[in-house]
């Protein structure tokens, strides 16, 4: 069989010929033709014109042909959605085929066809396949749910597929379990707060059982999923570790690394004095070393991970230095990584060996490798004090080789050695000076100049040396210029008599002839220092410098912790958090190592922490271990999606937060009505109507979190903002995807939109309009999309809204119909806004008025609701609600039950009065709402629920 012929030649009229062949009666000819089509497709030719002809071949008994047609369909269905419908019947029929392989093939392929109409037809067959008697079909269907979710998340939720998928975790077949876990993990990643996986000791036990039985790939899925779990205490942690350790002997390196990830993470929770802790440490080393006998690409992945592990727990590999010695035939990427790890493991015990190796490497061929080896020698000197002398002499030997780049690297590291051990090795300066002329790299030149300046008093001809650099001052790089300026000033302060002219020269070069502001500034500072107070200048310029630290290139601890949670993945290879290279919401969630907890304490964490961490359920530690972590937490939250927290996202929001704080405090002191005072109103009034979108997220997010953290201890918080949801999927709007939410900031209602262009062409000329609605919401200005939106670009826009538009009662009341126009078309969608957006800031009633109004509203207008599972105490609840302009007017405590009386004013002047009953220890609240327009009660209740639970 020589199928390679299909790859050759493109004749004119080929498409026509293919068309004829596809419609041929002879089966063989048909098959040949489809093969040709697939070959053309592979090399990138457009054969979409043959769509109907290829689809016609689909109804066949020949499975090979069928698979080829399916392959074609997956590629082109999206570009020919209407034609793709033609295939639906065959798919549906195949899903009923007696042969399980064909059923699975149909459901697998259908999931890959991203056409709305086909997706609709997929639901029923998929539901059947998820419950198929054959495990092969079920395991395929499990993955198909993830496919469908990627196309239409809402549909998957509505159809209840997520629950079916969850049930598959208890399936009798291990491969079905593994695929269900993979699918659920992926879906959960795009809903960081959904708690979809719902890992608990029972489900973990099921996973651990399946782990022993499924394929190597399934084991990886399960281990990666396990790594997201946080055990309740050290005992549970230990028992999981015990069941995961056998995986360390698996032949598949990915299984091993994923197991290492689970162990590294759960180990955090084990007390260090536990015997098991030591055993575990010992068990980790051999498999890590074994990874180094894998193929080079895997070695590379392993080494990047070992680099992290060594930084986190140096004790694991401290005796394994030798395995990281570089082999002559290692690929360069393996060599460079090994070198890095060697330095991390270098200690007094093994330094002699390491140095001998490094010296060997410094004579190799590859320039990058040699440079890194030379630098490594310097780092050893700084890290292991006892070795410094030998390192310096090794470096001197290398300088004698006169190989240009070796000399330059050596000088750069010797400078660092001087910084670490002052007044010890200055005898080598003479040797260094001999090589002055051969230095052509800025870093080496700068290092040499620094040395000359720093030790000017010991170098007889320092002035001559520096002067020689001065000739080409303007051709030097900034780094060298700055260094030269400083060095000459140092020289002048040390030998003022001979060098006055030189210093004049350099100062004028730096200040008068240079365009570089840094250089000029530094020049002026020196000039003024020298001219006003030379003694002070001496104190400043020649001050004793702090010693440089031992480890210069360690990964920052919070990042390291996060990367440990990503062992084995791309993040661990790049040494970057996933958010740095993954687009969209996926993987943006930051992972953290669990905190150590004793089995006795910590299971019941204090309320305060619960309240503070309640909004970030991913991995809230019950004890905040150290300051470093706290800082890290802030940073982490800072980048987290703003969906789960409550950010007042603008500078004015910041003010509001601050004022709320004051206001709340004063309020309780004076009992007055400060929040609604005219002064404040004016303050809010000046808030710019349209906020620059780019500023919003980061600044506001961080601040929001700060406030949020304090939330549990009685500080009012910003208004509740529901998470962004997709309003208009890209498929319905020719590639334009709109998601968004509503917010009330500084008294202005804002519609926050995220526009994403998923089409191939640029979008411009955006405009927006609302249909008439219940509360007269209307855009207060045009939609601010100033620049054209390129393919794959996303823009965030805040649209301020007014409440003076035309009114029409909608059903549901808070429904809003929106039209968005761009250069391509007009699109319509509807969304619902939380009614809390309409609660105005001056909604706090006088007590007397409240009482009167309460009595005045007929009892028929009163409606009662239950809010379930709310664990806030009444004060926290009241604070939370105040953030959304629901004001507590009075509080009464009757028989352990807190009664809160609250008032709300809507933007159209409707008042809503509420009575909230909170019983200590009972998570269910009762709320009674009274309003003259009882229709709004339902919406208001929903708001209570949303605000209290977020």
């Amino acid at each position: 069989m020589t199928d390679s012929k299909y790859f050759t030649t493109t004749k004119k009229g080929e498409i026509f010929e293919l068309k004829a062949e596809l419609n041929s009666d002879k089966k063989e000819k048909k098959k040949e033709a489809v093969k040709k089509v697939i070959a053309s497709m592979t090399v990138g030719k457009d054969v979409s014109a043959l769509f109907p002809d290829v689809v016609n071949c689909m109804q066949t008994d020949n499975l090979e042909l069928k698979k080829l047609v399916y392959l074609y369909l997956m590629n082109y269905a999206k570009s020919q959605p209407d034609m793709a419908i033609m295939a639906v019947n065959t798919f549906v029929k195949d899903c009923e085929d007696p042969n399980p392989l064909i059923r699975a093939l149909a459901v697998r392929t259908m999931g890959c066809i991203r056409v709305d109409k086909i997706t609709e037809y997929l639901c029923e067959p998929l539901r059947k396949c998820l419950k198929d008697e054959d495990p092969y079909v079920r395991k395929t269907a499990a993955v198909c749910v993830a496919k469908l979710h990627d196309i239409n998340a809402q549909l998957v939720e509505d159809q209840g597929f997520l629950d079916t998928l969850k049930d598959l975790i208890s399936d009798s077949n291990p491969m079905v379990v593994a695929n269900a876990v993979a699918a659920l993990s992926e879906i959960a990643e795009s809903h960081p707060n959904s708690n979809l996986l719902d890992l608990n000791p029972q489900s973990i036990n099921k996973l651990l059982t399946a782990l022993n039985e499924c394929t190597e790939w399934g084991q990886i899925f399960i281990l990666d999923c396990l790594a997201n779990y946080t055990p309740r205490d050290d005992r549970e942690s230990q028992s999981i570790c015990e069941r995961v350790t056998p995986r360390l002997s698996h032949a598949n390196s990915a299984v091993v690394l994923s197991a290492v990830k689970v162990l590294m993470k759960f180990m955090e929770m084990l007390p260090k004095d536990l015997d098991y802790y030591g055993t575990l440490l010992k068990k980790l080393a051999p498999p890590l070393v074994t990874l180094l006998s894998a193929e080079p690409e895997l070695q590379y992945v392993a080494l990047r991970n070992i680099n992290l592990i060594v930084q986190k727990r140096p004790e694991i590999l401290k005796h394994e230095m030798k395995v990281f010695f570089v082999k002559y035939n290692d690929p360069i990427y393996v060599k460079l990584e090994k070198l890095d790890i060697m330095i991390r493991l270098a200690s007094q015990a093994n330094i002699a060996q390491v140095l001998a190796e490094l010296k060997e490497y410094a004579t190799e061929v590859d320039v990058d490798f040699v440079r890194k080896a030379v630098r490594a020698i310097g780092r050893c000197a700084i890290k292991v004090e006892q070795s410094a002398e030998r390192c310096v002499s090794t470096l001197l030997d290398l300088i004698q080789t006169k190989v240009n780049y070796v000399v330059q690297e050596a000088i750069v590291v010797i400078k660092d050695i001087f910084r670490k051990y002052p007044n010890k090795y200055e005898s080598v300066i003479a040797t260094l000076c001999e090589n002055l002329d051969s230095l052509d790299e800025p870093e080496a030149r700068a290092a040499m100049i620094w040395i000359v300046g720093e030790y000017a008093e010991r170098i007889d001809n320092a002035d001559e040396l520096l002067e020689s650099f001065l000739e080409g001052f303007h051709d030097e790089s900034t780094q060298v210029q700055l260094q030269l300026l400083t060095a000459i000033v140092k020289l002048f302060l040390k030998k003022p008599t001979e060098t006055q002219e030189l210093v004049q020269q350099v100062l004028s070069l730096a200040t008068q002839d240079s365009d570089n502001p840094d250089l000029r500034d530094r020049g002026y500072i020196y000039w003024r220092l020298l001219s006003t107070d030379p003694v002070a200048a001496k104190e400043v310029v020649l001050a004793e410098k702090p010693l440089i630290s031992e480890e210069t290139d360690l990964i920052e601890p919070t990042l390291l912790e996060e990367l440990i949670c990503h062992i084995g993945t791309l993040a661990s290879v790049y040494h970057k958090p996933p958010s740095a290279f993954v687009e969209g919401s996926r993987g943006v969630m930051h992972k953290r190592l669990p905190a150590r907890t004793g089995s006795g304490e910590g299971t019941e964490s204090p309320d305060v922490v619960n309240a503070a961490a309640g909004s970030a359920p991913e991995a809230a530690p019950s004890i905040i271990p150290s300051q470093g972590d706290l800082l890290g937490d802030l940073l982490n939250l800072d980048l987290a999606p703003s969906t789960n927290t409550v950010p007042p996202p603008t500078t004015s929001g910041m003010q509001m937060g601050g004022m709320d704080f004051l206001g709340g405090g004063l309020d309780s002191l004076l009992g007055g009505d400060i929040v609604g005072s005219p002064a404040m109103g004016a303050g809010f009034g000046v808030a710019p109507a349209v906020m620059p979108a780019s500023l919003n997220a980061p600044v506001g997010g961080g601040l929001g979190d700060l406030f949020d953290l304090g939330g549990g201890v009685g500080m009012p918080m910003g208004a509740y903002i529901p998470p962004k949801t997709v309003w208009l999927p890209a498929m319905k709007a020719k590639g334009l995807e709109i998601s968004g939410t509503f917010a009330r900031r500084a008294g202005v209602i804002q519609m926050e939109l995220v526009l994403t262009n998923k089409a191939m062409s640029v979008m411009t000329d955006f405009a927006i309009q609302f249909n008439r609605n219940s509360f007269g919401l209307a855009p207060a200005g045009p939609l601010q999309v100033l620049t054209p939106l390129g393919p794959n670009q996303t823009i965030e826009v805040s649209l301020p809204l007014s409440t003076v538009g035309p009114v029409m009662k909608m059903d549901p009341l808070n429904n809003l119909q929106v039209a968005v126009k761009n250069n391509i078309d007009v699109f319509y969608f509807s969304c619902q806004y939380p009614i809390s957006m309409l609660f105005v800031e001056d909604g706090k009633m006088e007590r007397q008025v409240f009482l009167a109004t309460w009595k005045d509203i007929p009892n028929d207008n009163e409606s009662q609701f239950q809010i379930k599972d709310c664990h806030l105490n009444s004060d926290a609840a009241s604070n939370k609600l105040q953030g959304s302009n629901i004001f507590t007017i009075a509080k009464r405590t009757v028989e352990g039950q807190d009664m809160l009386y609250m008032s709300i004013k809507l933007s159209n002047g409707i008042w809503v009065l509420a009575e909230l009953k909170v019983q200590a220890g009972n998570p269910n609240y009762t709320i009674s709402l009274k309003c003259r327009a009882p229709e709004v009660s339902q919406c208001v209740f929903q708001c209570y629920e949303a605000v209290l639970k977020n």
Partner: protein
């Protein structure tokens, strides 16, 4: 997860392109070609990030296999998958070459559809795959056959099908070791380790349960302490030809084929499994202690003036005199500016190969406890290159009929309860081969 998989020839032309995820566009195919295959400077990492898209690649002869993704995938899994993919393809159509790939592109697409679903690797055991991906269609199968296939593909024992029958039950067991050494010019061992593999060929009927034992120090010590009679006594498989008389060896680490029950190894350190049919690798292991180094290389390089080098290398064999090492090759690197070489050797043949910048000295056979010597005079062209010659290490290749780690197979027992053959009826063959891995001596 994996977003797509591409296969290119050495020119960067696409041979296979399969996209699994919507976030991967056609331009990804070109991005890899332009930035990696056609890159002006050789790419220095097997993972590259181009425009927020990550590419993983491996090369087999002159074929590039690339995986592309936009997510934070398990990188180790991706490479393991690529290797596996190569194995599967090789077992279907032999060598991975442009010609073979083009000839089998329909098959490859079919395989890719089966072993990657939405970018998630699925069962990729060739034994299982070959039962239903045959390029013949699966029309003729009965219902029982179909469900047997699906239960094998998804089942606990995905690597073996039921109902295998042999007239003669036979087992071949190879202990293949590669011994690695890095030695300083003064004869100090800088690093040495053995990486070994136990490769089996099993032709056994039914679903046999096997148990494998070797002279693992931990097992032997445990048995000794517990006073249990040593099973090695009744072993019919002992032997091999190691020179050392030591009883047990310390294994640093081992990994097993997925058929081995890992939890059982973890708790009892016993290796039990239901074997795949035919050839497979049962385990890999690594040892670093008490390694028998079969050869010692003693180099002497002297620079005589600027245009001449004198090299003398002695090799000594270090094992039982009754054993023979084979395929011995010593490779002595020469500087780039070599103009001529004169060699004298006592045994074997030696040649200067200018294209490889080395003197290659070959000896067919050599018994234990012998030594041999080569001396060479190397003439150099004068150069004004300042950089000194890097002096790459002298490397060695050989094959010896024993396990340099000292590993011995103590027993391999077969139990099949349903069919009536017992452990004694199985014919077992054991072979030990020690080869040089990276066996280098600096000079």
């Amino acid at each position: 997860m994996i977003g797509g998989l591409f296969i290119y020839n050495h020119k960067g032309e696409v041979l296979i392109s399969r996209v699994y995820r919507d976030d991967i566009g056609r331009n990804a195919v070109d991005a890899f070609r332009v930035n990696v295959i056609h890159a002006r400077q050789q790419v220095r990492s097997p993972v590259s990030n181009i425009a927020r898209t990550s590419f993983f690649h491996v090369k087999r002869s002159n074929i590039w296999l690339a995986v592309v993704t936009k997510q934070n995938v398990n990188a180790a899994m991706v490479f393991e998958f690529l290797y596996k993919m190569c194995d599967v393809m090789a077992s279907y159509f032999g060598k991975i070459s442009e010609e073979n790939i083009k000839n089998n592109f329909v098959l490859i697409y079919e395989l890719l559809d089966e072993i990657l679903d939405f970018g998630y690797p699925q069962n990729s055991e060739t034994g299982a795959l070959k039962t239903f991906i045959t390029q013949q269609g699966i029309k003729g199968q009965t219902k029982e056959e179909q469900s047997q296939i699906t239960s094998q593909v998804t089942g606990q024992i995905g690597w073996r099908r039921e109902g295998i029958k042999y007239r003669r039950n036979e087992l071949f067991l190879d202990v293949l070791e590669s011994v690695n050494l890095l030695m300083s010019p003064q004869g100090q061992v800088l690093s040495a380790h053995v990486s070994g593999r136990v490769v089996m060929k099993s032709y056994l009927s039914g679903m046999p349960e096997c148990k494998f034992g070797m002279n693992d120090k931990i097992v032997i010590d445990k048995a000794g302490k517990g006073g249990v009679t040593d099973e090695a006594g009744k072993s019919d498989l002992g032997g091999g030809g190691s020179t050392s008389g030591k009883q047990s060896i310390a294994i640093d680490d081992c990994t097993f084929n997925q058929c081995v029950r890992l939890s059982k190894f973890d708790s009892e350190r016993s290796i039990s499994f239901i074997p795949p049919d035919g050839e497979y690798e049962l385990m890999r292991y690594r040892t670093t202690k008490d390694i028998i180094l079969p050869f010692r290389v003693i180099p002497l390089v002297r620079e005589v003036g600027r245009t001449k080098l004198e090299v003398k290398v002695v090799i000594k064999s270090n094992f039982k005199p009754s054993l023979l090492a084979q395929k011995i090759e010593v490779r002595i690197p020469t500087p780039l500016n070599t103009s001529g070489v004169q060699v004298i050797c006592m045994k074997g043949k030696a040649k200067y190969k200018a294209s490889e910048n080395a003197i290659v000295w070959k000896i067919k056979r050599m018994a234990g406890m012998k030594e041999s010597q080569i001396s060479a005079e190397i003439e150099l062209l004068p150069t004004n290159d300042k950089k000194k010659w890097a002096r790459p290490p002298i490397s060695m290749n050989f094959e010896v009929p024993f396990a340099p780690s000292g590993l011995k197979v103590r027993y391999l027992k077969v139990f099949e309860s349903k069919l009536n053959y017992s452990d004694h009826d199985v014919i077992k063959w054991v072979r030990y081969i020690g080869r040089s891995g990276i066996y280098e001596t600096r000079c």
